[in-house]
């Protein structure tokens, strides 16, 4: 996988993870182009598209789009399930995750992603093992305040 982007229906970028070295300028350009392309697509359309020399795999969960860029030989369907497994991990960690959780706890979203995918490859697919790694960090719990959202992701 070359990169993963999470953005809202309004086109706001919520998370970006790059597995290939690119300049900040190039990253911004890619993000702008892709957000536009994906948002322009209609709901029933297929989840894959060719873009430059990459394949884009995307899926919408509630108000948030998850969008991955993979290479020619990579498997589209398994990438779709990478997205889903990541959503499940977020959901399990936050409990009915919604967009606001990712905004207010963006660092956690990155940590969970790093446990699941590393260098663009799946590292650990077991939900239990991924969350075990994250929760170790939460052993020293402190209390955190943040607004709760109303529309959790639906599966």
């Amino acid at each position: 996988m070359q990169f993963m982007l999470l953005f809202s229906r309004q086109g706001k970028l919520r998370l970006q993870k790059w597995y290939v070295p690119l300049s900040d300028k190039e990253k911004k350009k890619i993000t702008r182009e892709l957000v536009q392309t994906v948002l322009a697509r209609k709901p029933k359309m297929c989840s894959f598209l060719e873009w430059r020399d990459l394949k884009i795999v995307y899926k919408r969960y509630a108000s948030l789009y998850f969008c991955c860029a993979i290479e020619d030989q990579d498997n589209e369907l398994i990438t779709l399930e990478i997205i889903h497994r990541y959503v499940e991990l977020l959901d399990k960690y936050f409990g009915s995750v919604c967009e606001l959780d990712i905004i207010f706890n963006f660092e956690k979203a990155y940590f969970i992603l790093d446990e699941f995918l590393l260098g663009g490859e799946v590292q650990e697919t077991s939900k239990k093992n991924v969350l075990k790694a994250i929760e170790q960090a939460d052993l020293l719990q402190e209390v955190r305040y943040f607004p709760r959202c109303v529309t959790p992701f639906s599966f």
Binding site: L13, Q16, Y19, P21, K28, K42, K44, M45, C46, S47, F48, E50, D53, D72, Q73, N75, E76, L77, I78, L80, E81, H84, R85, Y93, F94, I103, F104, N105, F106, E107, K108, Y110, F111, D114, L118, G119, G120, E121, V122, Q123, E124, T125, S126, K127, K128, N129, A133, E135, Q136, A137, D138, L140, Q141, E142, V143, R144, Y145, F146, P147, R148
Partner: protein, 940 residues
């Protein structure tokens, strides 16, 4: 409203994020951010030392600001400080900041690397993982230099925790991708392969990715992974849906790992070991069988995971391309998906079928789905799916269905999305040319293209139709009539005016007998379009007019009037003005004979690869299917023997293949003397750089055998490995020769910096001139490029030139060197002579230096017909009834070099009882006798 969250709360951060979200405008947001930046800066600069928590909070705020899209130019040092904190959450934020915002400040890199080094040595698995994640996220060369040597050790150490192994494997993968030279291969590689046997599925999952990447460059070192991967896969595939506990995903056992294992196997040819192969085929069949079982869940995740494995299995089957039964089953499975209600599956089925269409085993099976695919083109609502349908139609097209497919594509073109029109135009143009039996159909098709999608018809397409019409006289009259009719339309596309103008200028005379298309009517028709056209088209029309002056003397005055008008003679455009002046003058001063000579019909165009195909390849990148198709076809045909020369390259589209060019060898300009550009100093340069990556690789194993095979034949495959295939076609006449070298990229990844070099050693260089042009440095996956070498034999020679190829494949440098089979006997011309003459000359060459004899054991069965064919293939004439002993073979010929001609006589005496041969060569030059004897002896 406040709710308790997990983890370490940073209230200040939450408040800041809330503030930003509440900003009503971009300006307000920037204002709030600047305020925050000033605050953080003052805290960092303040006298009071910040505690870890505050530092973490501020660094996290900076990170948030950066991720919003603003520049951050401070805070790095504070982040680096966090790395050495003992508190996990502080360390974690420090690493996150570094991963996202690393800059190449050398002082900082040193500090970061130091902190990483400490964590890697800490033996605390969570700290180690954080450090490894950071290296993997940054992946820079500096980090590679610092850690690439340590990570393999961590990966295979017996006491490393599973989670550390997982991170280490993928961290190493990232470093290897970025700078392969920094990762040392060694004893650890064997142990990595054995991670495929690891108890922990997560470790296996991570390790497979690493192995898949490493084995591409070192296939032999990792060969043992095949059987391990097969047995692992087999265990997963045959396990019940609950066996693997948390690694089962929606009732599908370990889908990610399965897909990765199937990908790994695609790096290799089918397993050689029959037992392993049997087990694998069983797996593949099980996956195909499972596809037919009812789903265990209605959730889309279940079917996606299951089908991900199925598609990867089909990819492997296509990769092997050797099991007709599996290929046909795969095709049937995809056929079911073509009508599935899930758009995603229809899309993938169309995509995957494209590659199946290029396999000889499944091509016919794919063709049976033509109606469904055409229907998809008409009814799919998503343009990306329609695009796939177009690709598949193109891939499944052959002579039998070309008229239907071309017609369907043309009719789709009328409503096609603008984004894919140009590509469809190119495809239609290529198919129409490739499968034209009747060239009138071809002409009609191209004119239809221009009518329907004129704006998308590129120059290449209309140039090509003109080339073909000029080269084929059976279609010229029809073409003239058809363009004439098409031009009658009140509004026709400018491209039609160009084609029409050109064709009528050449062949208008063929329809001028019909009063409805008399010369004057033709002229008036063209001229009625003149004023609506752009300058280049007008220029073309002026040339048509002067051609008319020659073809039809009766319209000369009319045309002269037009040329003479102010709008032409004084046209503001220099090109138009010049043409008008010159053509007018030419028509006035030149005699009919001179006009007829100057304005003669265009000579046929030299045949070459269709530029349209080149354009399509450029547009489509690596996924062109035609290439695969042609490469495959070439491989399956005996290039030497087939009655119809196999399409030697992608030029299958251009009417005659390059072999047509070869036949015109005599007319080719002789290769000029002087040092050939690519071979001259080659030897020297290589010496100078022999320690760099561009050094010439040792001769490829097995190339010696292939070389010998080319002594008696000119065409075939010279070299082949996992990545690259090199094919040759050559022809020689007298002391000249021409060789076509075809480089086929067998992978689906680009080759970069692809540079073949011809090297003549210092000894060889004065005797042999080789000339060639560099090839395009990028060879797309599945594509084939060709290189032409012009050869001149200056004087007799012994050594063979070396073809050395360097390229980059997936980040690694590849070197291949093979001897190029240009041998002295290639410059042989056979000489027929009677028995008496032969013996007379034989006696004349009786000086001991002139004769070389070799007695040797037969390496191949001693078959008379084969021997005869070899002697003829060697280049000499086979003289019957010369030798008194009918079992012997006698040959004669002349070696042509630029400086001299050398007569050669040979005699081969087989001894069946002893399974031996005696070969005698007599020529006027000892070195020639010696070399020819060597070359020929090796053939029997």
């Amino acid at each position: 409203m406040p709710a308790v969250s997990k983890g370490d709360g940073m209230r200040g951060l939450a408040v800041f994020i809330s503030d930003i979200r509440n900003c009503k405008s971009k300006e307000a947001e920037i204002k709030r951010i600047n305020k925050e930046l000033a605050n953080i800066r003052s805290k960092f600069k303040g006298d009071k030392a910040l505690d870890g928590y505050s530092k973490k909070k501020y660094v996290c705020k900076l990170l948030f600001i950066f991720l919003l899209g603003h520049d951050i130019d401070f805070g790095h040092m504070e982040a680096v400080n966090l790395l050495s904190s003992n508190k996990y959450t502080e360390k974690q934020i420090g690493y996150l900041f570094i991963s996202v915002l690393v800059n190449s400040n050398s002082e900082l890199i040193r500090l970061i690397n130091n902190a990483i080094k400490n964590d890697l040595a800490s033996r605390n698995p969570t700290f180690m993982c954080l450090a490894l994640h950071c290296i993997a996220n940054v992946g820079s060369r500096e980090m590679g230099e610092a850690f690439a040597a340590d990570i393999p050790r961590i990966l295979v150490a017996g006491d490393s925790m599973d989670s550390v192994k997982q991170s280490a494997a993928l961290c190493l993968l990232r470093l290897y991708k970025a700078s392969p030279d920094l990762v040392p291969m060694g004893e650890w590689t064997a142990r990595v392969v054995h991670l495929l046997n690891d108890q922990h599925m997560g470790v296996v999952t991570a390790a497979v990715s690493l192995i898949t990447c490493l084995c591409k460059k070192n296939p032999d070192d990792f060969k043992t992974c095949i059987s391990l991967a097969v047995s692992r896969l087999s265990r997963i595939v045959s396990s019940a849906s609950t066996d693997l506990q948390d690694y089962t995903y929606y009732f599908v056992p370990a889908p990610w790992l399965s897909v990765k294992l199937l990908r790994l196997l695609q790096c290799y040819p089918p397993p050689e070991d029959a037992a392993v192969k049997g087990r694998l085929v069983e797996c593949l069949e099980t996956v195909l069988n499972k596809a037919q079982e009812p789903p265990k869940s209605k959730k889309v995740q279940h079917s996606n995971a299951k089908n991900a494995i199925l598609f990867e299995t089909i990819s492997l089957i296509i990769h092997y391309d050797s099991e007709p039964n599996l290929l046909v089953r795969a095709c049937n499975q995809l056929g079911q998906f073509l009508q599935h209600r899930e758009t995603n599956l229809r899309y993938l089925a169309l995509e995957s079928m494209c590659t199946l269409a290029s396999s000889e085993f499944s091509h016919e099976a794919v063709k049976t789905h033509i109606e469904t695919v055409i229907n998809a083109l008409k009814t799919e609502r998503d343009v990306s799916v329609r695009q796939r349908a177009v690709d598949l139609l193109y891939a499944m097209c052959d002579r039998s269905n070309a008229p239907q497919i071309v017609a369907e594509m043309l009719s789709y073109l009328e409503t096609a999305d603008y984004s894919i029109r140009e590509e469809i135009v190119l495809k239609v143009a290529i198919l129409a040319e490739k499968y034209a039996v009747d060239y009138t159909w071809y002409v009609d098709t191209i004119l239809n293209l221009i009518r329907i999608a004129g704006d998308y018809v590129s120059e290449e397409v209309w140039y090509r139709v003109i080339q073909i019409v000029i080269n084929r006289d059976d279609v010229q009259g029809y073409a003239a009539k058809t363009v004439f009719e098409a031009l009658q339309a009140p509004a026709c596309h400018e491209n039609l005016v160009k084609v029409g103008g050109y064709i009528l200028g050449e062949f208008g005379n063929l329809i001028a007998g019909d009063p409805r298309s008399s010369p004057l009517i033709q002229f008036n028709l063209l001229h009625s379009k003149f004023h609506l056209c752009s300058v280049p088209t007008r220029a073309l029309l002026l040339s048509t007019y002067i051609k008319f002056v020659n073809l039809f003397p009766e319209v000369k005055p009319t045309i002269q009037d037009v040329l003479r008008s102010d709008s032409q003679l004084r046209n503001a455009d220099v090109e138009l003005q010049q043409r008008a002046v010159e053509y007018l003058r030419l028509s006035t001063v030149a005699s009919t004979d001179i006009l007829a000579t100057v304005l003669e019909e265009m000579p046929p165009f030299p045949e070459r690869e269709s530029s349209i195909l080149a354009k399509l390849k450029k547009k489509k990148g690596p996924s062109t299917v035609t290439d695969l198709e042609d490469t495959k076809r070439e491989r399956s045909v005996d290039v030497n023997g087939g009655p119809e020369p196999a399409p030697a390259s992608t030029s299958a589209v251009s009417t005659p293949s390059p072999s047509a060019d070869l036949l015109g060898l005599g007319a080719a300009p002789p290769a000029p003397a002087g040092p050939p550009p690519s071979s001259g100093s080659g030897g020297l340069l290589v010496d100078v750089f022999s320690d760099s990556a561009s050094a010439v690789a040792p001769l490829a194993p097995g190339s010696e055998d292939n070389f010998a095979r080319f002594v008696c034949k000119n065409n075939g495959v010279l070299f082949e490995n996992q990545l690259l295939q090199i094919g040759l076609k050559s022809e020689f006449r007298q002391n000249l020769g021409r060789m076509f070298i075809f480089y086929g990229n067998k992978t689906s990844t680009q080759f970069l910096n692809f540079t073949p070099t011809l090297i003549c050693s210092d000894d060889l260089q004065p005797h042999l001139n080789l000339q060639t042009k560099p090839v395009d440095p990028t060879v797309e996956g599945g594509a084939q490029v060709q290189q032409v070498v012009n050869i001149e034999c200056v004087s007799d020679f012994t050594e063979a030139p070396v073809l050395s190829i360097q390229f980059r494949y997936g980040g690694t440098f590849q070197n291949v060197s093979v001897q190029l089979p240009i041998t002295l006997n290639k410059f042989f011309q056979p000489t027929e002579m009677a028995s008496q003459d032969f013996f007379q000359r034989w006696k004349q060459l009786s000086n001991p230096q002139q004769e070389v004899q070799n007695i040797f054991k037969a390496k191949h069965p001693m078959d008379t017909e084969v021997t005869k064919a070899k002697i003829i293939g060697f280049g000499s004439a086979l003289l019957e009834e010369v030798d008194p002993n009918p079992a012997n073979f006698v040959g004669a010929g002349i070696i042509h070099t630029k400086t001299t001609q050398i007569g050669c006589l040979l005699r081969l005496e087989p001894n069946l009882q002893a399974q031996m041969y005696r070969l005698t060569l007599r020529t006027s030059k000892e070195a020639v006798s010696q070399r020819l004897c060597e070359l020929l002896s090796a053939q029997f």
